[in-house]
Symmetry: C2
Subunit: 325 residues, 2 copies
Amino acid sequence: MQIKLSEIIQPIEKELDLFNDKFKISLKSKVGLVDLVTKYILKQKGKKIRPVLVLLSAGLSGEISDRAYRGAVLVEMLHTATLVHDDVVDAAETRRGIPSINAVWKNKVAVLIGDYLLSRGLMLAVDGNDFDFLRVVTDTVKRMSEGELLQISKTRKLDIDEETYFKIISDKTASLISTCCEIGARSSTDDVNKITALKNFGESLGIAFQIRDDILDYTGKSKIIGKPLGGDIKEKKITLPLIYSLKNVEKKEANRIIKLIKSESKKGRISEVIDFVLNNGGIEYAESQAVQFIHSANESLKVFPDSPYKSSLLELVDFVVNRKN
Amino acid sequence: MQIKLSEIIQPIEKELDLFNDKFKISLKSKVGLVDLVTKYILKQKGKKIRPVLVLLSAGLSGEISDRAYRGAVLVEMLHTATLVHDDVVDAAETRRGIPSINAVWKNKVAVLIGDYLLSRGLMLAVDGNDFDFLRVVTDTVKRMSEGELLQISKTRKLDIDEETYFKIISDKTASLISTCCEIGARSSTDDVNKITALKNFGESLGIAFQIRDDILDYTGKSKIIGKPLGGDIKEKKITLPLIYSLKNVEKKEANRIIKLIKSESKKGRISEVIDFVLNNGGIEYAESQAVQFIHSANESLKVFPDSPYKSSLLELVDFVVNRKN
């Protein structure tokens, strides 16, 4: 049975409300258009997984202080900035069921709002003298853009091995998840063991999350996940299930599949590639890798005594990784 | 006679070479595509006005230290990031005579490279423990995006007065110029008077620069400035020469011109608006404003004794403001 997010956030329910207020206030601007767009963003109502990770990690490491809230606002601001830029990058028409910023206000406004959110988040950290947060976060933003760019360059060549795949998902996805946990820990403790444990927890969680996301592109039910099956194949994104399957067959067959992915006009090619992966153990292999990272994530928390925060973080692993959408 | 940039930079010639080396090294990335794009950016060879301002301001305030170079690399990195994003925002096909990043690698790569440059610049400041730079710079990035967004929202309504115009150009253009001078000063002195003087110098210089840029849209020779006359009118950007001219005629005539600007299909409308501004004192008024800010800029430097650095900064005002392109 799928755990509900409302149960997971129970130990930080009040804190999350307070975070939401602080986030809303931090977005305010004297420029009317900025206010209009950020209010629209608030309507999109994300799951707020990243602030939840910051607050739970802070609680687990000591107490949830003002610094934890600043960290939570900072990561949510960065995450929102990257989503807004991503929608420009992918020319996405919708986000969380409503039209995307670029669809409503055009690319121009979307790029600038992304820059605004990025700088606004960093300013909060500067104003709060949270220079340790800045150190972590600027490196993360760099890793995220490098990861996406590495993926783009590999996508163009359709040339990607497992090592590169893990480098890409670690940079583009796991880095921010890991940063949320690290910042939460840093907000309430100086204990390097605790900080490292939570940082590693986030890294493993982020990788497991992305592997599962990539599996869903092959096995998910399109109606539930809200995007068509095989979207990655269409975009020529080579992910773990396919990498494994290609390695697992003869060179000739692998080349045939690669050619199929390249041939944009050919009808039925996407379902042929999906079948190829399903028939060559790609899903099982990717699953086994995800399970390993889930195990690592859970292991990382062993240094902490049991607590409601710890239980929630462990449940969150389940929630994030077993989600159907 | 136009002063040459090569004469202005004489007191910092060696330092500027060293800056160029450091800038090149700072752009390096392990991701091949990032390296490819940043090498391309280096080929575009900008005038490097911003690093020049940092180095001259540092020299004028004391000495040109390691911190000054980090500041110079930081501002050039931010400036480059905003140029790359601007070209996406404006769908520009060329930059400094060669195809733009978005034209060669598409919007996707351009948005991500901009984010990469922004975070890379901030990382250098974090690594150097230049938290005073970060304070100044994150506020600047926020002001630049807010200024652009304010301009966009006002452009849509064609409703802009002189006060709003000055707010926009101060945020979108003068803020970074001012930051260059402030960072240069901060890199070599704690003296608040010197820091404030150079900050104000940069602010006035930036405003004068933008007014002159806006005047050139009405009076420049299209071949020299490399963009067609009346580009702002076409984009419905209402700048100082037009704002003044509209205020200076009867309501009925002003409404006719506003309507003309809105009527995208009407032939000859751009030259009609240009003539309207030329005939109603818009250029002379904007010139008089630019001259006032040039005067303010020069006045700001009075607290410093004469030196080659000071002479160069004063010459730079002339160079920037009297440029024909």
